[in-house]
Assembly symmetry: C2
Homo-oligomer: 409 residues x 2
Amino acid sequence: MVLSGNAIIAQSGGPTAVINNSVAGVVQTWQKLKFKGKIYAGLNGIKGVLEEDIIDLAYQDKAVIEGFRYTPGAGLYSCRYKVLPEDQKKLINICRKHDIRYFFYNGGNDSMDTAYKTMLAAEAMGYDMRVIGVPKTVDNDLPFTDHTPGYGSAAKYLATSVLETGIDLMSVSTKNKVTILEAMGRNAGWLTAAGALAKRSPDDAPHLVYLPEVVFDIVAFLKDVEAVYKRLGYVYVVASEGIKNAKGEYIAAGGSIDAFGHAQLSGAGDALKQIVEAELGIKARCNTLGTAQRSAMHFASLTDANEAYMVGAKAVELVMAGESGIMVTLERASGSEYVCTTGKVGLAKVANVEKKVPLNWIVPAGNNVTKDFVDYARPLIMGEVSIPMENGLPKYVSLNAALGRLIEK
Amino acid sequence: MVLSGNAIIAQSGGPTAVINNSVAGVVQTWQKLKFKGKIYAGLNGIKGVLEEDIIDLAYQDKAVIEGFRYTPGAGLYSCRYKVLPEDQKKLINICRKHDIRYFFYNGGNDSMDTAYKTMLAAEAMGYDMRVIGVPKTVDNDLPFTDHTPGYGSAAKYLATSVLETGIDLMSVSTKNKVTILEAMGRNAGWLTAAGALAKRSPDDAPHLVYLPEVVFDIVAFLKDVEAVYKRLGYVYVVASEGIKNAKGEYIAAGGSIDAFGHAQLSGAGDALKQIVEAELGIKARCNTLGTAQRSAMHFASLTDANEAYMVGAKAVELVMAGESGIMVTLERASGSEYVCTTGKVGLAKVANVEKKVPLNWIVPAGNNVTKDFVDYARPLIMGEVSIPMENGLPKYVSLNAALGRLIEK
């Protein structure tokens, strides 16, 4: 069942805090199982593979790969690049040239599509190569997996931010009485919903949570805000960057730059801040954590980090057992205690499919999530990752991309 | 020297991650020194004192006061309220009624003015009361103190966010090639400058840092961004929310709300994002951490937390030694090792004075800070606070404001 030959791993799309755990899982498992083949990295995702930006990871200091367990960002560098039909032959020929027989692709929906097409191209060209998807995304929108590595850490950071800024809001009642936190996730509200994990008692932040899965009604929103404001004197709103009105238009404030006069749109959070101030006359503030949500390793979920490692390790075991054309999944055991194991699903089924928050986990008024969501998400944020510190900041590692290059450039 | 009578502590203005350490320092030192008088809290700052929203802290569970050492937000609730001349007599009469002889006020510039006026009012009314300012502000703009409690934690969180989102930016070079982080501090650039602490090697984020102390020139900014972009392919900018052009106008994008048509201004970060996209045609992204900067206890500086406690404890010792009308300061010993002790300064000198970043700590081009700044700020972010966790999130405490009320309402 074991093909002789080399392996490659590459990362694609937006990073997560724990995405490099999956690389560490693949590389360390490969090395531990003592396969004869080498383990390469394609730098900058599939784009790097196409450009033969490939390095032999054996040349990296082992501390770098171990450091990937607590380093955010795409450690092998990532890309957003859609493989064109004319790229595919080139891609397979490069794999053939370097005797790459195992192809690990670490990414989200688009990346699973890339992996799938790579597998089809190899098959079409009669090149025996096993392709496996290693999932990641803070958006948690990959289907056929209970959840996706990267989500738990983003959720933990977001919920912590809601908790802390919610305490801040509540403790100063005389200014900025409405706080809006804009959450990542344009089409799926998983990360937005994670804000609800911050609530410890009924009057705690967040009071209102708006997911992109349901239509955003500005009039209802203003009524919601006003009702909470009358009751408590302050309001905490978590809103997805992707909320849309009934016409399907994103909620955004139109703007024109003073200096140059070009029209641009602001984000949903700023739009809601402006609407609250203009329509209700209540001072509001918007926090847009942006890419901090997907890179906050300093407060990542240990559960998430460990699972990200586990899917990487499992990917090696699966391809070694002869599997190909699949993505590793996470499966939650039934029962009250959280137990998570791995499974698999065909890449064809995953590619380009988005999993949204089930509508029955959103309250009928469309302004919050249910306890079912909280019960689902809570185990995913448990535990903290221990990170070495230096000069008061996390001591993250970085790849030495000059070492072990297959082709000198 | 010791006056018999009670003490009160209240908090004012925007919270910090460690502001409650100062309350714990005051309360625990008061209790430890076994003064006969009681220690009260004025809820919602001076406004609460004026409304006799006063509680006896002896009724709080000791775990709450101890929990203040790791709980963000204003634990005693804060306000933004300017004491009016007609309030002062009322205020002193309330103090007299409850035999309050020690008045601890925990706040920033405005609060020191309030404390000063309270002292003057007491003197004018022949009421013997010792007034002391306990400093806090993430803005670090209080004069006559090396730095201010609250700043180190905000600086650590901001620098960590720049480090992490900088790695994120650098690791995905094909989209959002410019990241702008908007930092708090409308008039003083201390927190903005803290972004520079994230830089480990010359090409690391942040590449450009814009403080409100110098005029912001859009044309120079675009040239700066373009130059870094040509060299590296990505650019990380930290900009103060308070940057202004040569005319003294805030850098902001004008907007009009789609739904209602009211004109509003966006923040500086969003304006810069729009300018970069419109003028350079480079995709940009803006992270606005907002109130997370002043409440991120989950990654606060231990040095800062300890110093916040120290100024609270010292305030009790000073008033007991007969001092009044002063603010506790932090003094840094000369020498290469960081050693910080306390000092004092007259409230009259502090009130309403803002300390800005020295211009010789800003590079001549106005787009970064010097090594002198980094050397100044680095010790302030050292160490981490240990926080109990519950359900995957920090287990913060809260005051039970219903216990020990002097006046039932």
